[in-house]
Symmetry: C2
Subunit: 399 residues, 2 copies
C-alpha cells in the first residue's frame, strides 16, 4: 500500500529528539547520565523471586488467569495500605485502580477526559511522554513556569483563569526532569485553585518515596483533608517502577469515583487488565514486609550519588552551570549560564559531550511551550560515585 | 465537582449488557458456560514457575528494568520462530511487536488508524471488546454476515465497495463468539479483496492453536505468500492468553513496517512497554520446549469437552436449538429455533437459565449492527464433562 490511512491524531506527535540521542548511547565506553531509569543493581531480585514463587504456589489461578480490570484485589489492598501509610486517610482498595505502569494512568486520563482542542496545563518542563500522550488525544498542552520550589502558583492561576483547562498535571515531588520539590504552601494553593476554578488536578508521584534527608511534604492528595471540596478534584498516579521494578509495570490511579469508573471502562478496551502475574508478585512483595528496607537502601544509594554529582558539577563546571541540589528523585536540572563566553546551547553541548564519552539529555524537549535551550537533565541514578566523577571530568572537556 | 468534563468519545460506548449478567454469576452453585476464559486447571504452573525463576536468575536486569517498547528481544525471537513454525515464512523478531495482551494490539490499531467517523468492517457477530475498542476512537463499526464457514466473502465485498472501510477485522479461526472456521478458499478471497480494494485486513488469531482434530487452514497472514501484493495489507494479532496464560498479558502484533512503527510510537505513550517480567518469563517458557506438550494437553481436554457439550445440547434441547459443532476454540454459537412454540429470545432464556443454576451469554451484544436476538454463546472450556452434562440438563428445564 502506497500510503497508510493513518489517523489524524498522529500528526500531533513526533518521535522525540531524545530518542534520536539515545541511539548514540550504544557507543562503547560512554558514561550516561541520560537515562530516566532506576539502577538495576538496586532491584531486590531475591525478594521478587520469592514473591513470584509464592504467588504461583498460593494462588496460581489468580496469578495466571484473566483478572478484574480494576486490579488484583490483594494488590489493591496492599496499595491502599501503602497510601494510607503516606497520609492519605480515606483510601481503601476500591478507591484505586491498578494500571500498567503509571504511563497507562496518563493514557486513561487522556482517553477519558481529553477532546481534541481541550487545554491541559503542565509544568514547564515536564515529563516528555506526558506531553505526547495528551497530544495524541488532541490536547493543547500549555506550560506553567516552575522554579526550584515547583510550579509558580501565581502564574498557574493566571493560566487557569485564561485557558480554563480540562485539568492541570503536576509532578510535585522531585519532578522529571526538574527534580523540583513543590513546597507545602504551594501545594495548599494548588488545591485552593482546583476548588476555585473547579478544575481537576492530576498529581503524578513516581518519585515521592525517593527522598534523601527529611521526607517531603504530604502529597497533594493527602493534603485534600485540609482544603474543603478538594478531594473530588484530585487525581493521583502512583508507581512501583522507581522504587521496586519498572519491569513489573505496576502503577495505580486514584480518582474521583465517577472518573475512576470511566477509566476502568477504557482500560477494559486498552489491555483488559494489568498482568495478574506481575500484580500477584507485587502484592506478595508488599505483603512480605521487605519494602521499607528496600526503600531505605535505594534512598541511601541515590542520596550519595546526588551528593557526588552536585559536588562534581560545581568542581568541574563552576560558573558555567547553575542548578539546585535535588532533595530526592533521580535528576539534576541545570542551566548553562554562558559565563565567560562558554557554551549556552544544551543541544550543542550534548553533541560535544557524546564526543567526549559522556551523555545527558538537553532540556528543550521537556517543554510543551517556550523551550529553554540552555537547560539540561542529568540523572545520577545509574552511575556509581567513581563514574560520576569521571563523567563530570569529561563534561568539563566538552565545555 | 458536579459533572465531570468527560471526553465526547465516551458517549460511543457503554458498559456492556454482558458485564451486568456476569454480576449474577456469583450465585452459589451456578454452572457457568458464560466465560471466555481458558481453564485455570490447565495452566502449566510448574513450567511457568521454572521459566520465571530462570528469567530472574539469568538476566534479572532484563526481567525487571524498563525495556524496549517493541518488546523484549529474546521473546520477539521466540515468537517469530513460533509464527514461522505456523507457516509464516518471512517473519523475524523485527517484524513483530509485543503487546499487553492482544487487546492492546486492537487498541493500538484504533489509535493509529481510526479517525472519528471512519468505518471498520467486522464479523457479525464478533468479539465485543473489539467493537467497543474501535468505537472509542470514533469508528462506525459495520457487521459483515457470517455462517459456519466464517465471513461470507460476497457480502464482505459488497460492504467493502460500499463503505470503503479503514480496515476489515476478522477472527477467522474458531472466532469468538462464533466458533466458526473460515475456509481456505474464503481466506484467499479475503486477501484478493484486500488487494482489490487496497484495504488493510486485521486477522485476530488467539484461538488458532486450539484445534481438536485436523489443523485449520494456514492463517491469512501465512497465505499472503499465495496472493501477490497482499503481505503489506495484512495485520495479525497473536496471543499466549488462550494457550498458556492470560495473566501474563503477552500478545503480539505483526503489521506492515510503517504501521508497526506508528503502533510502537503509540504504545510508548500507552504503557511504555509490556511487563518485561512477564515477557522474560514467556520467553523462557517458549525456549524450554514445553509449549508443544502443553498445546497437546489443552487441545485434548477442550476437544473432549466440546464433544460432550455438542452431544448434550442435542440430547437435552433437540430441535429447540441449532448449531454447528466447533472444530476448535472455546465456544459453541447456537440459535434458538422457536420450534414447537418454545422460547426464541436468548436474553429471556439466559435469565430463566440463571434461575435454574446455569449461565451462558446471549448473542445479541456481539453484533455491531443487526443483532440476532435468538443467538447465544456457550463456552465449554472451564467445565468438565460431568458439569457440562448437568448444566445442559438444567438448560432443558429453563427451556
Amino acid at each position: 500500500m502506497s500510503t497508510l490511512p493513518l489517523a489524524r491524531r498522529l500528526q500531533n506527535v513526533e518521535t522525540s529528539a531524545i530518542r534520536e540521542l539515545f541511539k548514540l548511547l550504544g557507543k562503547p565506553g560512554i558514561i550516561s547520565f541520560a537515562g530516566g531509569f532506576p539502577d538495576s543493581a538496586m532491584f531486590d531480585v531475591e525478594g521478587l523471586r520469592q514473591a513470584s514463587a509464592k504467588a504461583l504456589a498460593e494462588e496460581p489461578g489468580g496469578a495466571l488467569q484473566y483478572g478484574a480490570t480494576e486490579g488484583y484485589e490483594p494488590l489493591r489492598t496492599e496499595l491502599a495500605a501503602f497510601m494510607r501509610a503516606k497520609g492519605v486517610r480515606d483510601i481503601g482498595p476500591e478507591g484505586l485502580v491498578v494500571t500498567t505502569g503509571s504511563q497507562q494512568a496518563l493514557d486513561l486520563l487522556g482517553k477519558t477526559l481529553v477532546d481534541p482542542g481541550d487545554k491541559v496545563i503542565v509544568e514547564g518542563p515536564t515529563f516528555l511522554a506526558t506531553i505526547q500522550c495528551f497530544r495524541l488525544y488532541g490536547a493543547e498542552v500549555i506550560s506553567a513556569p516552575i522554579d526550584a520550589h515547583g510550579v509558580q502558583t501565581d502564574s498557574l492561576e493566571q493560566l487557569m483563569a485564561q485557558h480554563r483547562p480540562k485539568f492541570v498535571y503536576l509532578i510535585p515531588t522531585f519532578g522529571n526532569p526538574s527534580g523540583a520539590l513543590l513546597g507545602l504552601e504551594r501545594r495548599r494553593k494548588v488545591l485552593e485553585l482546583a476548588v476555585k476554578y473547579q478544575t481537576l488536578v492530576v498529581e503524578d508521584d513516581p518519585y515521592g518515596d525517593l527522598y534523601f534527608g527529611e521526607a517531603p511534604p504530604p502529597s497533594i492528595l493527602a493534603l485534600t483533608n485540609e482544603v474543603p471540596g478538594s478531594r473530588e478534584l484530585v487525581v493521583h498516579c502512583g508507581s512501583l517502577s522507581k522504587v521496586l521494578s519498572p519491569g513489573l509495570r505496576v502503577g495505580w490511579l486514584i480518582a474521583p469515583h465517577e472518573l475512576l469508573g470511566k477509566a476502568v471502562m477504557c482500560k477494559q478496551f486498552s489491555d483488559a487488565h494489568t498482568s495478574t502475574f506481575a500484580q500477584a508478585t507485587a502484592a506478595q512483595y508488599l505483603k512480605s514486609g521487605r519494602m521499607p528496607g528496600t526503600l531505605r537502601q535505594v534512598r541511601r544509594a541515590y542520596a550519595q550519588r546526588a551528593q557526588a554529582m552536585g559536588d562534581a558539577l560545581q568542581r568541574e563546571l563552576g560558573d558555567a552551570i547553575e542548578f539546585t541540589q535535588p532533595r530526592g528523585g533521580l535528576f539534576f536540572w541545570a542551566r548553562l549560564t554562558g559565563a565567560g563566553g562558554r557554551i549556552q546551547d544544551a543541544g550543542e553541548f550534548a553533541r560535544r559531550a557524546i564526543e567526549q564519552g559522556v551523555a545527558f539529555v538537553p532540556g528543550a524537549p521537556f517543554f510543551a511551550t517556550e523551550p529553554d535551550a540552555s537547560a539540561l537533565r542529568l540523572s545520577f541514578a545509574t552511575a556509581d560515585v567513581g563514574r560520576i566523577d569521571e563523567g563530570m571530568a569529561r563534561l568539563k572537556k566538552a565545555l
